[in-house]
Symmetry: D2
């Protein structure tokens, strides 16, 4: 996996655990979001700025595979990669590591771009060209 | 405690527990909100409707005292009472019972009424007279 | 889809929304859990009871596809189906409907059965035969 | 307020916002926990280590006053102070600042120390003398 940004680091919070004594699986979906927004910020295109231009990027699908449990106070490193981008839709993939190299979980999320008011799809190429160019330059496998 | 509405019932969800094996204390604050909005709905004044008129009711303070732990799948009954209301501010008090009568927790929340756009205080007496009258009729200890 | 239990109903809570004004996507994963545990309870095999016998059922993978947003206070009906079961692993599929028939989201979750103490896989056939038989009778496509 | 440890810093996550566009009030209670555990760790007494000795520190009460809203991606600094400690009970107070000095919220939490198995109160003086001494040295207003 080629990593397009510095990994996102954080610890597992106590309130994220459940009675099994491990981080509840739903929280990994939230960690993906944290890592994605951190990754976007590192490319100079802050998601908050994007929303201020009236464009939102809701999640259209998400998946996660849980491999090794994460426990309270353990530090994780999350690698995020823009795996698909065409200005209409985008997809990110994630790998969560703990203990300096153990793959704890991996997953993906799909997104579209909508006008915040109308909730209709927007083309970033027209509406947010800076992000469009940035997206093209980041996406894996871009050949042109 | 005089209860102004039917209690709000729900079970403790698995994801609400933490590694102590009990419901995490932060969730009681969320349960208070569930119970408050349910209680408002019972009086015929739905909070969703209120927001649609452009008025929001943020929380200005909250407190909770934890007495007996609640565990996964236990059913709780939450009694909500409007304890203060003057059309500018409101306060609710809560009692959470389990096992048909054991007081598990109690608490309070304070609220103001704001214009959703300007985020400035509004007087319900002028802006939402129906709710104002309803509030006056519900608040405990109203003497006229 | 053949539904093996009565659907699980609940409303979207205020705290489940995010600044897009819709239920945050991570909460659907929690709703799946609520629905799954409710569904298990309906079959007479309560997950709480299962954990008391020392068996836990962690999530090995989860996925969700988001079709129509759910908003605050909207009621959803969640249909849960045991789609795979062999006593070692299980999978559930979910459909979330709103407004009496609009498919809002669908997804799946995979599970294994572990000894709570050792965290090693257990065979329900040996350790929890009642659940094993129940599982076999519930799983779709069982031909024997 | 005398601050006994470096402040705890973090950003507001997207999923912590609600449809008002601000961080949901329940999350501040979670932030208090994050800050408290971070603060404990800084004193050399990690809460995880404490739990490993069989002692848990549940919350007996919590309160929060909300002054200025925190929005998505804003950074907050949380100052935590051990305001009471006698080896049987403890209390912490919190101040949350944003924008480098605006008080966004403040609050308190109360705690007891319990044996993880019996859930009966324990005296840290006997069971966890290192933490007891550390607590005494940290608590504000200690006169002896």
């Amino acid at each position: 996996m080629m990593h397009s940004a510095a990994p996102y680091k954080r610890r597992a919070y106590y309130y994220e655990t459940d009675k099994m004594g491990i981080v509840h699986h739903s929280n990994y979906i939230r960690w993906f979001e944290e890592a994605r927004l951190d990754s976007m910020g590192q490319t100079g295109l802050n998601y908050g700025s994007m929303e201020k231009t009236g464009i939102i990027m809701p999640v259209t699908n998400v998946s996660c595979r849980y491999i090794v449990s994460v426990r309270f106070d353990e530090e994780v490193e999350i690698f995020t990669k823009l795996s698909y981008f065409d200005g209409i839709r985008a997809a990110y993939s994630y790998e969560i590591y703990k203990d300096g190299g153990i793959l704890a979980a991996c997953g993906e999320s799909g997104h579209c771009f909508l006008d915040e008011i109308t909730r209709m799809p927007v083309s970033l190429k027209k509406k947010y060209p800076d992000f469009y160019e940035e997206g093209l330059s980041l996406v894996e496998g871009r050949t042109i």
